[in-house]
């Protein structure tokens, strides 16, 4: 097999395998955190910890929107329903 073909095949395969590893690693970390660390405790009565939106999709959309608009500088620390 010539060098160009080797680079083509092994290159694509390596990228695919590494991204499979990314998926597996992500899933493993999520499983581990869910099982052994769990959800962070909410501090009752903390200022600004009003009614939180619990819908994960909505939170994800807000986080993505803030990240995009602020070019990654802004972070969502709390979401309150007004």
């Amino acid at each position: 097999m010539g060098l160009p073909l080797q680079v083509f095949l092994f290159g694509l395969l390596t990228v695919f395998i590494v991204l499979l590893v990314v998926v597996a690693t992500g899933n493993a970390i999520i499983w581990f955190v869910n099982r052994y660390i769990g959800a962070p405790a909410q501090e009752p009565g903390k200022p600004g910890s009003g009614q939180l939106l619990s819908h994960s999709g909505r939170i994800a959309a807000l986080t993505a929107a803030v990240s995009t608009v602020t070019r990654g500088r802004g972070r969502v620390t709390n979401i309150e329903k007004l």
Partner: protein, 403 residues
Amino acid sequence: MSALERLYNITAFGDLWSGPGAILMLAIGIFLLFLGIRKKYEPLLLVPIGFGVILANLPGAGMGIVPEEMVRFEDGRYMNLVEIAGEYGIMNFLYYMLIKTGFLPPIIFLGVGALTDFGPMLRNLRLSLFGAAAQLGIFTVFFAAIAVGFTPQESGALGIIGGGDGPTAIYISIMLAPHMLGPIAIAAYSYMALVPVIIPPITRVMCSNKELSINMKNMDKLFPAKREIKNMTAVKIAFPIVLGIIVAFFVPTAVPLIGMLMFGNLIREIGLATGRLTEAATGPILNTATIFLGLTVGATMTTATFLDLRTLGIIFGGLVAFAISVAGGIIAVKIYNLFAKKKINPLVGATGLSAVPMASRVANEIALKHDSGNHLLQYCMASNISGVIGSAVAAGVLIAFLG
């Protein structure tokens, strides 16, 4: 008469007439400034690069980057930095210190990591795989470039433009084909800026209206995720540490890029405790690196290196690589949809190259045109961010094979 002649010799007009290519290069520099300032195409990069081109081609100024052979002795050793600065000026000093050593691209990756939120990717992990398909352009153009006469190293540097990642393209060029650095950097950043022009026609040709209307949120409702993430903060902190180590075992040559990306992301996710580091990485460090990267890359574009038919080949090849990468991601989604119940909008595949977050924003706008309630941004960001990892890994593979 002799006094006038002496006065004339002090000026640079004589050099200008003896090398008219410089005028064309100055025009190219001004054009890049126009694109950056007026058209707002990646101004943070194109403005320094454009000005670097102008500085390098000012007759008699001696600001252009000299070829490597001129700073290397016969026994293979390099001149030291003081000698380079004394002999060839400050721009060559900066170039050989910051670029030739491969220092700046990983530093920029540090800043990129500190600006990147892996959250959307972690919420949609399987979409990350499309970041692999979108690296198709890199390897296809690598193959084609060898066929038309580029060396394997040059072909690797040319193909990487298809990853849609400027720092990675620069890093690979430094490692494999430093003489092509200028045109490759220009092509990479120009095409990243032209994502809003490149992606829509490709999706129009390759996707039906029905496919572009696939609503991912509806799919999520029909086929909900098996588990939710209970503690995203903990996951986000663990992710860059674990992934950085694991990827290093698979592709050690990608560590300078991936390692810095993950470190940057880690200090971001830790939060307040490392807030000052994040601020430094995303502000002063990233901005300083960008200025020096742009100026020195621009200064590599002298008449001798840029006014060449191969430059046209690089610009054209880069565009083809970029287009194939977009198409590769779309094809991968289409193949996936053939077998899966939970369909994916092909636009998610189209954003598998880097160009974060521009590609995702463009894809989101296209989706909204087909269905005003179809917000794809967070899904596209998943493949878009994995594209950054994918192109850095592709770069590592190219260095391992060709370096």
